[in-house]
């Protein structure tokens, strides 16, 4: 699941990157909304999406892209693009979270609070419901524990009366009854990825923000690391390739210029 605070910016990024990747449907949905907001008719948006998929190197003959495009269009017709830009978490809210027992439960509660604010901002009639798949919730909170311990996190928040669960056996939605508290801003969320890590960074733990993509990741050397990290793993790999290409091209042009000088001298 991809949560975006400014879908127009994301759409422009996807259109320039030309890579569908794993969350292809989410990307198509965001791009469809972007084109719809530009005031294009549905048929034109459909053509644009087909063009985008074809440019990404995907074939139309034997895959389900067509149905995916139709679903993305259906969703784009129903909802407007998300343009919130930032979410504010107040100091009293952070203090309330800090009273919860266990760091993972705090992190989980922080994520639920952010999601509640996010969904309420998108749809004011939402009334505090968070409808996100359990696996996605854990991924957003950067929690990797066995299922039994994950269930324990829910039980802690239930006992503190911060959430309510519907009675339906296969429910996915969580009603976050954590009231919004007014006060000075403690955190301003501008990126909905790795929310759990963002909370840990706020607490002063050894986490850093990638200077390329803005993702908050854990410092692999912990607090003992001498040199602070600049980039996340993916960006570091991309930058390394870019730097080595630049260096090789620089050397190539230098050799060519020397060669030309020698010819002139001869």
């Amino acid at each position: 699941m991809r949560l975006s605070l400014n879908e127009h910016e994301d759409a422009e990024m996807f259109l320039s990157e030309l890579c569908l990747g794993k969350d292809a449907f989410e990307k198509l949905k965001i791009i469809a909304r972007y084109y719809m907001d530009e005031g294009r008719p549905v048929d034109s948006v459909r053509d644009k999406l087909k063009e985008y998929v074809a440019n990404c190197g995907e074939s139309f003959t034997l895959n389900p892209w067509r149905s995916m495009i139709e679903l993305a269009l259906k969703s784009a017709k129903k909802y407007n693009a998300v343009l919130i830009n930032e979410l504010h978490i107040s100091k009293p809210e952070m203090e309330r979270i800090s009273k919860i027992k266990g760091i993972q439960a705090r992190r989980f509660c922080f994520v639920l609070l952010c999601l509640k604010k996010y969904f309420n901002a998108i749809r004011p009639e939402n009334n505090g419901w968070v409808c996100v798949d359990h696996a996605d919730l854990m991924r957003l909170a950067n929690i990797k524990t066995p299922m039994v311990k994950q269930a324990e996190l829910y039980r802690i928040l239930l006992s503190e009366n911060l959430i309510e669960l519907p009675d339906k056996p296969d429910r996915v939605a969580i009603h976050v009854v954590f009231d919004d508290m007014e006060g000075d801003d403690a955190m301003c969320i501008t990126d909905m990825r790795n929310l759990g890590n963002q909370y840990m960074m706020y607490l002063g733990e050894p986490y850093y923000q990638c200077q390329e993509c803005g993702l908050v990741v854990r410092n692999p050397h912990g607090s003992k690391g001498t040199k602070p990290f600049k980039y996340c793993k993916d960006c570091a790999a991309k930058i390394k390739i870019r730097q080595s290409t630049e260096s090789a091209m620089k050397k190539y042009y230098k050799d060519i210029s020397n060669f030309e000088v020698k010819i002139v001298e001869v």
């Binding site: 299922m147 269930a151 669960l165 339906k168 296969d170």
Partner: protein
């Protein structure tokens, strides 16, 4: 099909009380559990439903749904809800019972019981020639594209329940297309065989690609290595291999000798 046979909401609107009572009892609003093995989409829905319900049971009662005790009234209500809201009828009918017996005996257990001892040494299939590393990279990229294409097609099949015969033809068409591309990259069949074996047998993914592209070369390599002799189990009352109620013993045949005999008979 009359609507009252499968639509419970329609049945509730029937005015004749006797008829309504009868149809409420016999309405078939969902498929029975064993049909999950016929309809892939329903099976997917059921798995998802079971996973979500199991997590909720774990949250509420501290135990997964498979270890349910039904001690408290609340838990009994939860289990009733689980059974009533299930996308499949999970009652104890004869077919569901048979299905569960099969699941208990075969689901994941068969492969565990019959795990091969030690790893298979695929070098026996190779031609043993040196090849250019640039070919390896190109073929590897092609192999990744092939896997992506096949998995995309399989996911489509999974949802649409296409006819098996049509699906096999389409998969064969994809394979033929990739075989052609492979030979465009590396025209030497022995080099191509070794490259593909190195790619497929070093990864955990399916080895079908290797057999589709260079199955004939692999057979040729094996024949050369074993002096054109084939070993196979044949029916034998005194055999030492027991399988499917019969006994077998290993026999050997030299293919060249057989070919010569066939040629003389033809002449």
């Amino acid at each position: 099909m009359p609507r009252e046979w499968y639509d419970p909401y329609y049945v509730r609107r029937i005015e004749d009380e006797d008829k309504k009572e009868l149809y409420e009892r016999i309405v078939a609003d969902r498929k029975p559990y064993f049909m999950r093995y016929i309809y892939p989409q329903i099976s997917h829905d059921y798995r998802s439903y079971e996973r979500k319900s199991s997590l909720n049971h774990l949250i509420k009662f501290g135990e997964p749904i498979s270890n349910r005790t039904q001690d408290s009234e609340e838990e009994m209500e939860f289990i009733d809800g689980f059974i009533n809201n299930s996308p499949l009828g999970i009652g104890d009918c004869v077919m569901n019972k048979i299905c569960r017996i099969f699941e208990n005996n075969f689901d994941g257990k068969y492969s565990k019981l019959h795990k091969p001892e030690g790893e298979f040494d695929y070098r026996i299939l190779k031609s043993g020639v040196d090849y250019d590393q640039s070919y390896y990279k190109d073929i590897n990229n092609l192999y990744k594209r092939y896997n992506k294409r096949i998995s995309s097609y399989n996911s489509q099949l999974y949802l649409e329940r296409e006819d098996e015969y049509d699906a096999a033809i389409k998969i064969q068409a994809i394979k033929d297309e990739f075989v052609e591309e492979c030979y465009k990259i590396c025209p030497n069949k022995y080099e191509l065989c070794d490259i593909i074996l190195d790619i497929t047998y070093k990864s955990k993914s399916s080895k079908g690609f290797a057999w589709s592209v260079c199955g004939d070369v692999i057979i040729e390599n094996l024949m050369n290595k074993f002096g054109d002799t084939l070993h196979f189990p044949a029916l034998d009352a005194d055999g030492d291999i027991y399988y499917g109620g019969n006994t077998y013993s290993m026999k050997s045949v030299n293919v060249k000798e057989v070919d010569m005999v066939v040629e003389t008979v033809i002449e």
